[in-house]
């Protein structure tokens, strides 16, 4: 196993101030993780957990208020202009809504050519055309002639997401941040897009940060999972650890809430081992931030300093002081 991770995120925080500083929204609040070469790390959590903000920090669409991001051992948080430009080529993002992230007046050819022009890749027109064609066939939009001159609105959601993937691959990235890449695509074709993304990932030994609220696809798609809650990672482990042996009460609740296509539950209410809804990141509870929703919380959880991640198994960590007893 290579010693150096592709990406390592250390104690990252993103605090937004609103209403002239009267409100501090702690969207990301001390997050650390690593991604190795060729690894897919899933970041799962509810809306408001800070997963999207974390993704945006990683590709430097935002600058963190604290903490550091290292890419192949070098700090990108403190990188200069030239280094940042190089990083922006090597770390690419795929957005949730492929339609909103493409110029509707660009033909697919132009959608794919634009990043080449921005990053000054390809020495002339015909070389760039070749790169565009190669990228389209890599995401299986073939024959490429059928797609080059179309506009984004003429494609299905799945095809658009393939174009979005091609647009990142054309820059030969090392790291891809994919934020809910299939959540707007019909269930029947989601697996097709994910399989394509994984094929590409294996062929190029890419590293992915896969951000999603959907644990079912995350289990299938990722190597490791990090569970985020209110700006923090509360549990991290292999996808199997997280689903089969969840240690944190929040992870347990998430998993118990997932429905399975089997009959016999009609009319029966499911007891969910969690209370209420996620609080605002502008008012993070003291003590363990999960305690108001936790069915196992004690006085200690409410008053003592917040628990950090502790090992609960090989390569498996959780941020709960009571994980052994519950």
């Amino acid at each position: 196993m290579p010693a150096q991770p592709v990406l390592s995120v250390k104690d990252l925080s993103m605090h937004f101030t609103a209403r002239r500083g009267r409100h501090v929204i702690r969207a990301v609040d001390g997050v650390s993780f690593e991604i190795r070469r060729g690894e897919i790390l899933g970041l799962i959590g509810e809306s408001g957990s800070g997963k999207t903000t974390t993704g945006r920090l990683v590709v430097k669409l935002l600058s963190p208020t604290a903490g550091e991001i290292l890419f192949e051992g070098r700090s990108i948080t403190r990188a200069g202009r030239a280094e940042t430009a190089a990083y922006r080529r090597r770390a690419q993002m795929i957005f949730q809504d492929p339609y909103a992230s493409m110029n509707p007046r660009f033909r697919i050819r132009d959608v794919l050519r634009e990043p080449l022009i921005i990053h000054r890749m390809g020495s002339n027109r015909s070389e760039r055309e070749e790169m565009v064609r190669a990228a389209l066939s890599e995401v299986k939009l073939v024959p490429v002639e059928d797609y080059l001159d179309r506009f984004p609105h003429m494609l299905s959601g799945g095809q658009r997401q393939r174009v979005a993937t091609a647009r990142t691959l054309i820059l030969s990235p090392t790291l891809l941040v994919a934020d809910e890449p299939v959540s707007m695509i019909d269930l029947s074709t989601r697996a097709e897009i994910l399989s394509m993304m994984r094929e590409v990932q294996r062929a190029r030994a890419l590293s992915y940060l896969y951000i999603t609220h959907d644990i079912s696809t995350a289990r299938f798609f990722t190597d490791r999972l990090a569970v985020m809650y209110l700006g923090r990672i509360v549990e991290v482990g292999t996808a199997d650890d997280i689903v089969d042996r969840p240690a944190h009460p929040y992870t347990r609740a998430l998993i118990s809430a997932v429905s399975e296509p089997s009959p016999g539950r009609v009319g029966t209410l499911r007891e969910l081992p969690i209370r209420g809804e996620i609080p605002s990141a502008a008012a993070i509870p003291r003590g363990c931030r999960f305690h108001p929703r936790c069915i196992f919380a004690t006085d200690e959880c409410r008053t003592a300093p917040e628990p950090g991640l502790v090992p609960v198994g090989p390569g498996h960590q959780a941020a709960c002081r009571r994980w052994k007893e519950i």
């Binding site: 697996a191 689903v243 009609v266």
Partner: protein
Amino acid sequence: MADPVVVVRNLSLHYFTRRGPVRAVDDVSFELQRGETLGLVGESGCGKTSLGTALLAMPAPPGRIVAGRVMVEGVDILSLADEQVRRQVRWERISIVFQGAMNSLTPVLTIGRQMNETLQRHRKTPAAEARRIIEGSLRMVGLPPDVAGRYPHELSGGMKQRVVIAMALFLEPRVVVLDEPTTALDVIVQAQILNTIKQLKKTLDLSLIFITHDLATEAEVADRVLVMYAGRVAETASNEAIFGGGACHPYTKMLLAATPRLREKVSELAFIPGSPPDLLAPPAGCRFRPRCPVAFDKCGAEPPLSEIAPGHMAACWRCR
């Protein structure tokens, strides 16, 4: 024993576009029994939402119901004048929670104000009485009554979804159509809302039509499933039959296989290759034929929906 509250017969709804009629619902028949929850499933564009709007005689323009009958509690609603439907049927006997309705709440009015507006439009109610109804219906969907004084942006997605469900229940309808009521929500909130829906069904003695693309959600709430493909019914059966290995239509089987199961470890997830046909010009013969792995020469003719077991209908030559 059979006591249908909704009977749909040979219903067709077409959208009259410049390029020609889009046959979103094409000769659909089914019944909803009293106290039953029917899950309407299929991919985007299969006609399930169009069918939902037809049940309230309110197709979205340029859609028009071109054939068929819809009986709601014995009333043939398509034979009534618009005004009569509005007064006697819609929201009184049958109501609908549209997909994404929670995002169409007005941001500038409090929840109470807009709930009152809806209530007054349908039934003139004195202020004190209206407040009682509004607070009662908020409580019914598990919200504190002080939500009435808040603005939509102060509520979470789950709370807004509860508000629109409460609004659909104002006039005490017997039948409620729910179109993807949990799709945009996080999994925990989703489970909480599904619990609320089941609870409401029991306490208010409702019959439900639950529209979703997600079979896992369908299995959670429904008694019976109706699978639509390209504007038609592909298969309908009890949930026990469909999820207990009795699915017969290849489309249903492929939908089932494409539904992820968290607790089963698989190395590959199945998907359905291709996409649903263009309903401007549906393929001749069986509409699923171009995507079907088991199509044979007989599929050049369109298979009728026929009973393959008691209460189990399928439109596939392979099921006979």
